[in-house]
C-alpha cells in the first residue's frame, strides 16, 4: 500500500472533477456518496499506508518535472507527512459528512463539494509532495480553493471582498516563499526534502544574519501569509464569511497549518539560523497574545473562533521558534481536532438558530441542543488546557519548551493561555448558558441532524483522547527533526510549571463566569486594535489611492505628454509628406499627362469623326500598298 500513496490525492481529485463537470446533473445523494466517499477512501488508504510504512520514509517518484531544480511529481511518506495526511483525510471526512447536513438547503451544493474535494486534493499534494516545488503547487492550490470557498456566497459583497482579501494577503507572503525556496535551492542544490538535510550539513550554524538566515526568513514570510501570523493575519477573521464547514476544514484544521508544516519540514534549514528562530518565536508569541486579546470581546461566534485560531497558530510558531518542532506538529494535531470541533459546533448552533451568528442574541441553548453543547464543552475544555484533554498536553509542552528557551516568550504564552480560557468560556456562557436572549416568536432553536452531530461526537472523542499519545507521538516524529536538546528540567520546576499552566486555564474560566472586558480597552479590542484601519490608511488609501493619484499625474504629464508629443510630431511630419505628395509626386504625374496631351495635338486633327474620311484613308492606303506591290515586282 505504501507504493500506492500517489493514489491518495487522486480520489478527491476525481471527485472534484466529476462534481465540477457533471455535478449539476447529479442528485444530491450521488454527490454525497462520491464526495464523502472519495475522501474516506483516501483516509483508508492513508491509514493503510502509514501502518505499513511503520515510520520509515517512503518516496515514490512518478515523473521528473523540472530536471534542473530536481523537482519531480513525487510523493514522500514519512512520519511528518503521515501525521498530516491522517489529519487532512480523517478530519476532512468528518467535515465532508457534516457538510452534507449543514449545506443540505443551500444552492450550489455540488459546487461546494467540488471545491471542498479540490481543496483536499491540493492539501494532500502540499503535504505529500517530496519537494518544495510540488509543495508550492499545493500551497497555491489550497489558496485558490480557500478563495473560492470564502467567496462561496458570492452574491454577498462582503464574502467576495473577504475572498479577495485572503487571496491578496496570501500573495504578499508567497513572494517570500518563492524567494526562500530559490535561495534554498541555490544553497543546497536541490529542492527534495530527502536531500536537503544532507546538503546543508556542511554549513555552520549562523550566529550573525547571513544568507541562510535570509532564506529562512523569506520562507517564514511565506508561512506568515498562509498561517495567518502577524502582520499578515488580517485575512483569516474575514474568511469567516465562507460556510462554517469551510472555516473548520480550511481555516482551522488544515490549510492554515500549512505554514507550520512547511517550517517543520524545513527544520534542517531553520536549525542553522538561531536568529530567524528567535524572530519566529517572537512573532508567534506576539500573534498569540494579540489575537487572543481581540478574541476577548468579539460578539460574532465565528470571529471569536477565528481569532482563537490565529492565536493558536501563534502558539505553534512559538513552539517552532524555540526549536521544539515535534511539539508544534503535536499542537497542530490536537488543535485540528478541537478547533474543527468548535467550528463545527458553532456551525451547528448557527444552523439551529437560523443563521444567527451574534452571541448577544443567543443564550440558554443548552436545553435545545444537548449534543452540540456537550461536544462543544469538551472542545472548550481541550483548548483551555484543562488536564486530561488534548489541548492540555500540547500547550503544556509548548510552555515548558518556551520556559527553557526564553522566559519572556513563556510569560506571553502563559497570559495567552489565560486569555484563551477566558474567551472560550465567555463564548460558552453567552451561547449555551444564562437567559435566552433570542426572539422566541421567530427563532426556534433545534438540534442538528445526525450527519452533523456524529462528526461532532467523533471529534469530541478525539479532542478528549488524542493528547494521551504524546510520548508515542514524540517517538514517531523524532527521526524527522534535528536533535533537540533534552529537557534540562528538574522535577520540582516541572510540577510548578504544570501547576501554573493549569491554574492559568482555570483562572481564565473563573474570570469569564464573572467578568466582561469593559470600557476603553474593550472598544480598542472590539475594533481589533484598528489594524484594518491602519492597513487601510497605509496601504489601501496611502499606497494605492495617493500613489494612484501620483501615478495619474505622472500619466497625464509624462505618459500623455509623450503620446501627444509623438502625435504632433507625426502631424507635422505628415504635413511635409503631404506637400511632397501634392507637388512632387502628383506634379510628375500631371507633367507626364500634359506632355502626352501636348504631343497629341498634331495627330488629333486626323480624327474628324466622319465615316467617309476614314473610308478615304482605307482607299488611299489600299492604293498605296497596291502601288508599292506593282512597283516592286
Amino acid at each position: 500500500m505504501v507504493d500506492l500513496i500517489w493514489l491518495i490525492p487522486i480520489f478527491p481529485l476525481c471527485g472534484a472533477i466529476l462534481m465540477l463537470l457533471i455535478g449539476k446533473r447529479l442528485p444530491k445523494a450521488a454527490v454525497n456518496v462520491i464526495c464523502v466517499g472519495s475522501v474516506f477512501l483516501s483516509f483508508l488508504l492513508s491509514l493503510g499506508a502509514v501502518i505499513e510504512a511503520h515510520g520509515q520514509p517512503h518516496e515514490v517518484i512518478l515523473y521528473t518535472w523540472l530536471p534542473m531544480l530536481k523537482a519531480d511529481i513525487g510523493y514522500l511518506l514519512d512520519p511528518l507527512s503521515s501525521v498530516m495526511i491522517l489529519v487532512i483525510t480523517g478530519i476532512g471526512t468528518l467535515i465532508h459528512l457534516y457538510s452534507t447536513g449543514y449545506m443540505a438547503h443551500e444552492g450550489g451544493y455540488y459546487r461546494f463539494f467540488g471545491y471542498l474535494n479540490l481543496f483536499v486534493f491540493f492539501m494532500l499534494t502540499l503535504v505529500l509532495g517530496n519537494n518544495y516545488v510540488l509543495l508550492f503547487v499545493g500551497w497555491e492550490g489550497v489558496g485558490l480553493c480557500s478563495y473560492l470557498l470564502i467567496g462561496f456566497y458570492f452574491h454577498k459583497k462582503s464574502a467576495g471582498d473577504a475572498g479577495k482579501k485572503a487571496f491578496i494577503v496570501n500573495r504578499v507572503g508567497d513572494w517570500g516563499f518563492i524567494i526562500g525556496m530559490l535561495l534554498l535551492w541555490k544553497l543546497s542544490g536541490s529542492v527534495r526534502f530527502t536531500e536537503i538535510p544532507a546538503a546543508l550539513h556542511h554549513y555552520q550554524v549562523e550566529t550573525s544574519f547571513g544568507i541562510l538566515s535570509i532564506a529562512a526568513l523569506c520562507m517564514f514570510i511565506g508561512a506568515t501569509g498562509k498561517s495567518a501570523q502577524f502582520p499578515l493575519y488580517v485575512w483569516l477573521p474575514d474568511a469567516m464569511e465562507g460556510p462554517t464547514p469551510v472555516s473548520a476544514l480550511i481555516h482551522a484544521a488544515t490549510m492554515v497549518t500549512a505554514g507550520v508544516y512547511m517550517i517543520a519540514r524545513s527544520s534542517a534549514l531553520f536549525h542553522l539560523t538561531p536568529i530567524t528562530l528567535s524572530i519566529i518565536a517572537g512573532v508567534g508569541a506576539f500573534t498569540a497574545i494579540f489575537a487572543a486579546s481581540i478574541g476577548l470581546v468579539q460578539n460574532d461566534i465565528k470571529r471569536v473562533l477565528a481569532y482563537s485560531t490565529v492565536s493558536q497558530l501563534g502558539f505553534m510558531f512559538m513552539a517552532l521558534g524555540v526549536g521544539a518542532y515535534w511539539v508544534a506538529v503535536f499542537h497542530l494535531f490536537t488543535h485540528a481536532f478541537f478547533k474543527a470541533l468548535l467550528f463545527l459546533g458553532s456551525g451547528s448552533v448557527i444552523h439551529g438558530m437560523h443563521h444567527e451568528q451574534d452571541m448577544r442574541k443567543m443564550g440558554g441553548l443548552r436545553k435545545y441542543m444537548p449534543y452540540t453543547h456537550a461536544t462543544m464543552l469538551i472542545g472548550t475544555l481541550a483548548i483551555a488546557g484543562i488536564p486530561g484533554f488534548a489541548g492540555f498536553f500540547s500547550k503544556e509542552e509548548i510552555l515548558t519548551n518556551a520556559f527553557l528557551t526564553s522566559k519572556a516568550v513563556y510569560a506571553v504564552g502563559l497570559i495567552t493561555a489565560l486569555m484563551t480560557a477566558f474567551y472560550m468560556w465567555r463564548l460558552m456562557r453567552m451561547t449555551f448558558y444564562g437567559e435566552e436572549r433570542f426572539d422566541h416568536h421567530h427563532v426556534h432553536p433545534h438540534e442538528s441532524p445526525w450527519t452533523m452531530t456524529v462528526p461532532l461526537m467523533l471529534l469530541a472523542a478525539g479532542s478528549a483522547l488524542v493528547g494521551w499519545g504524546h510520548h508515542a507521538f514524540e517517538h514517531f516524529l523524532a527521526p524527522v527533526f534535528p536533535v533537540h536538546e533534552p529537557h534540562a528540567l528538574d522535577a520540582t520546576t516541572g510540577y510548578a510549571l504544570l501547576a501554573v499552566a493549569i491554574s492559568a486555564g482555570l483562572l481564565g474560566i473563573f474570570l469569564a463566569t464573572r467578568f466582561e472586558v469593559k470600557g476603553a480597552i474593550a472598544k480598542v479590542l472590539l475594533n481589533k486594535w484598528y489594524v484594518d484601519e491602519i492597513y487601510d490608511f497605509l496601504f489601501v488609501n496611502g499606497l494605492c489611492k495617493k500613489g494612484g493619484s501620483l501615478l495619474s499625474t505622472f500619466d497625464r504629464t509624462v505618459v500623455d505628454g509623450a503620446v501627444n508629443g509623438a502625435a504632433s510630431l507625426t502631424r507635422s511630419e505628415s504635413k511635409m509628406l503631404m506637400w511632397w505628395d501634392k507637388w512632387i509626386i502628383d506634379g510628375a504625374v500631371r507633367l507626364s499627362s500634359a506632355l502626352v496631351q501636348f504631343s497629341s495635338y498634331p495627330t488629333r486633327f486626323v480624327q474628324t469623326g466622319q465615316v467617309q474620311t476614314y473610308a478615304l484613308f482605307v482607299v488611299v492606303g489600299v492604293l498605296v500598298m497596291f502601288g508599292i506591290y506593282v512597283t516592286r515586282s
Binding site: 469623326g609 466622319q610 465615316v611 467617309q612 473610308a615 482607299v619
Partner: protein
C-alpha cells in the same frame, strides 16, 4: 460577231468597283453610300463568277452566293442603323454625324 471574253467582264467589274468607291467617298446621303457599297460587292461578284467560269470550277459561284447573302445582311443592319440615326439626330447625311471625333 466578236464574242464576250473574260477581259470584258473584268473591265465591267473594275468600272463598277470604281463607281461604287467614288460613290462611297463622295456622296453625303447614307442611303446612297449603302447603294454604292452594293455596287462594290456586285463588282466583286462579277469577278468571282467570271473567273469561276474561266477555270471551270464552281467555288467562285458558291462564293458569289455567300457574298449576296452577306450583302443582304449588311444592308439590313446598315438600314437599321440609318433609321436609328434618323430618329436620334434627324438627319441621314454622313458629314453631319461626327460622334467619333476626338
Amino acid at each position: 460577231m466578236q464574242s464576250i471574253t473574260t477581259m470584258h467582264y473584268v473591265v465591267l467589274a473594275g468600272a463598277l468597283f470604281l463607281i461604287g468607291t467614288m460613290g462611297v467617298l463622295t456622296r453625303r446621303n447614307i442611303v446612297i453610300i449603302l447603294m454604292s457599297i452594293e455596287l462594290i460587292l456586285n463588282a466583286v461578284n462579277i469577278n468571282l463568277v467570271t473567273f469561276s467560269r474561266m477555270y471551270g470550277g464552281v467555288q467562285g459561284q458558291v462564293f458569289a452566293i455567300f457574298v449576296i447573302a452577306l450583302a443582304v445582311a449588311e444592308a439590313a443592319v446598315g438600314l437599321g442603323i440609318l433609321i436609328a440615326m434618323f430618329r436620334n439626330k434627324g438627319t441621314v447625311l454622313a458629314d453631319e454625324v461626327d460622334l467619333l471625333k476626338w
